[in-house]
Amino acid sequence: MSEAISTGGALERQARRPRAAEWNVLMALVGITAIFEVLGWILYGQSFVWNAQRLYIIILQVSIVGIIAVGVTQVILTGGIDLSSGSIVGATAMIAMSFAQAGMRNGQDFTQAVFWAEGWVDLPVIVPLVVALACGLLAGVVNGALIAYTKIPPFIATLGMMVSARGVANWWTKGQPVSNPTEAYTFFGNGLRGFMPVVTFLVLAALFQLALTYTKYGKHTYAIGSNAEAARISGINVERHLVLVYAIAGVLAAIAAVVVTSKNLTAQASMGVMYELDAIAMAVIGGISLSGGRGSIIGTVLGALIFGVIISGFTFLKIDAFYQQMIKGVIIVGAVILDQARQRKRGRG
């Protein structure tokens, strides 16, 4: 145990070192925002940033994927990857929403409710919430156990979960959407004057940033990502820790599912498609190294904001929908190239 503590000290210094990386991401965020600001004045005579509603949507539209990215970041920090988060959102959305339906719609009995026959409508809001968290926890633990104990690569384990969880989402109601939640359930996506998703994202991000920086959980996460063998020798139970990290990622995906269904007042089997890739992209843009052990949640939050600024900026400038996708891809690849360059520089130094 004394060994583990001493390693923790060394790793703590290592964890703090990449502060410069986050600084770069912040500069990129400011730079990209400035470009849209200038173009806005030139093309439309309008400010991009000086607009409360735009600042709101910039962060709102990345909050849901951002919650997932907080979990995915921790997985990537261990040197792993999670491709299943989008599908976990889909499956959790369908299942949880079935327990959140109201019994009336527009003044008529809502007989299309999934559990209408069972009479499970207008349930207290805690029911869908607990169901959701349980779904996410289950999926995450399965992911983590597969990776830790069968030793199959995280890419394959979570790819399997991605396919199977989407299957669950489709099977649950045979593709039918699940709509019409109770008033109480709509709080998670629309409460606090519509700021609830943003608050949820930022609170969770802050919580896990603190956990990663100041707790044993964080030190072990960085240690495993830097060198799993060394971490094991220094007394860390690598397997158990991996299960924990993937479980957290699963639960965060489930929270995202609650927020997205609450915000949209519906669950659809196709919900969350591509969320995993957007979440990974946010982390990568935020300077998280895909080889593990390097980066922070702050970086991911900044990466998410860059995403949000780009989406809003493109719509603001009315850039053709076809070009938007292409440019988004270029930005993601560009971010990785920068990350690689940083890594090489650090390797030499």
Binding site: Y56, Q61, I64, N106, K174, G175, P177, T315, Q324, Q325
Partner: protein
């Protein structure tokens, strides 16, 4: 199967020689839209004298579907109706039916060989081109009724690679650019929501943040229209001053229309397609001529007739 065998046996005995046995192979039973279509067919058959339907579930399996068709042929049905599992695997079905000289009707999903169908085969569905056209014309009418001669609109597209999204967007542009609209509509911007409510909600909020005035939102599907509505309501937009159109007539969309938020949607008549397919099959069985493509019209849904559609799809 049992009743069919009995019916077939009875036919052999010559007691009901006039009965029209029709074999039906559905892609799958556990699909809501296809179930409505199937029931439309069954209802129609019930009201007719001497029509026996034998409906089978292909369980989304191409091989199983071809087996079912061959079984129908072997038992000497008068005509076959197929809702193809895989529209690119229809050539073999057409060949098998043509060889046995039994009429074949494809329903809802367009077979790959639709342009080379033999004379006694046909395709029954709705013409995708109608949906966007009906939607946009109604938006034009509503804007005109509101006393506008010029208006601005946002367009929310479906997935950019999807044929229906491309077609519907083209229909919007064609109606607006054509002589039928009656109002000059400027498209402020058109962007994709990937058919997705959440993306449409975000997109609409982004548009709202520019502060540009607009009179209508024309969406490729209902989910996108509902997303736009939710964003506008959250931003305090007066929904009475904005015309919102979608396509599909989903349950959520009909509820939004009843609540006074959605103004236009378009209904694809599943039951009508089922009944139409049976009609075509019976005609072909009697040796009458049927067009290779039979289109069942889409139906416009507005607050005036929304109640008629609540129980339909």
């Amino acid at each position: 199967m049992k009743t069919f065998l009995i019916a077939g046996f009875a036919a052999l005995m010559g007691t009901s020689a006039l009965a029209d046995d029709i074999g039906v192979s559905m892609a799958k039973f556990d699909d809501n839209f296809l179930t409505v279509l199937r029931n439309g067919m069954i209802e129609k058959a019930k009201g007719m004298e001497g029509v026996n339907l034998q409906v089978e579930d292909a369980q989304n399996d191409v091989a199983k579907q071809l087996d079912q068709i061959n079984n129908f042929i072997a038992s000497g049905v008068k005509a076959i109706i197929v809702n193809p599992v895989d529209t690119s695997a229809t050539q073999a079905m057409s060949d098998a039916a043509a060889k046995a000289n039994i009429p074949l009707v494809y329903v809802n999903r367009q077979p790959i060989n639709v342009d080379t169908l033999p004379d006694n085969q046909a395709f029954v569905a709705s013409n995708e081109q109608e949906s966007g056209t009906l939607e946009t014309k109604e938006v034009c009418k509503l804007l005109k009724d509101a006393g506008k001669t010029e208006a601005s609109a946002y367009v929310i597209m479906g997935e950019l690679s999807n044929q229906a999204a491309v077609q519907r967007t083209q229909d919007i542009m064609d109606v607006i650019g054509g002589p039928d609209c009656g109002v000059k509509i400027n498209i402020l911007d058109k962007q994709t929501s990937n058919w997705n409510r959440d993306e449409a909600q975000n997109l609409m909020t982004n548009w709202l943040s520019t502060g540009t005035k607009f009179d209508a939102v024309i969406a490729n599907n209902d989910e996108s229209a509902i997303g736009a509505i939710q964003a506008m309501k959250a931003a305090g937009t007066d929904m009475k001053a904005v015309v919102v159109g979608g396509i599909d007539a989903t349950q959520d969309a009909l509820a939004a229309m009843q609540a006074g938020d959605l103004d236009v949607t378009v209904f694809q008549d599943a039951a009508g397609q089922g009944a139409g397919a049976l009609d075509a099959a019976l005609k072909l069985a009697k040796g009458e001529k049927v067009d290779h493509k039979v289109y069942i019209p889409f139906q416009l849904v507005t607050p005036a007739n929304v109640a008629d559609f609540l129980k339909k799809n």
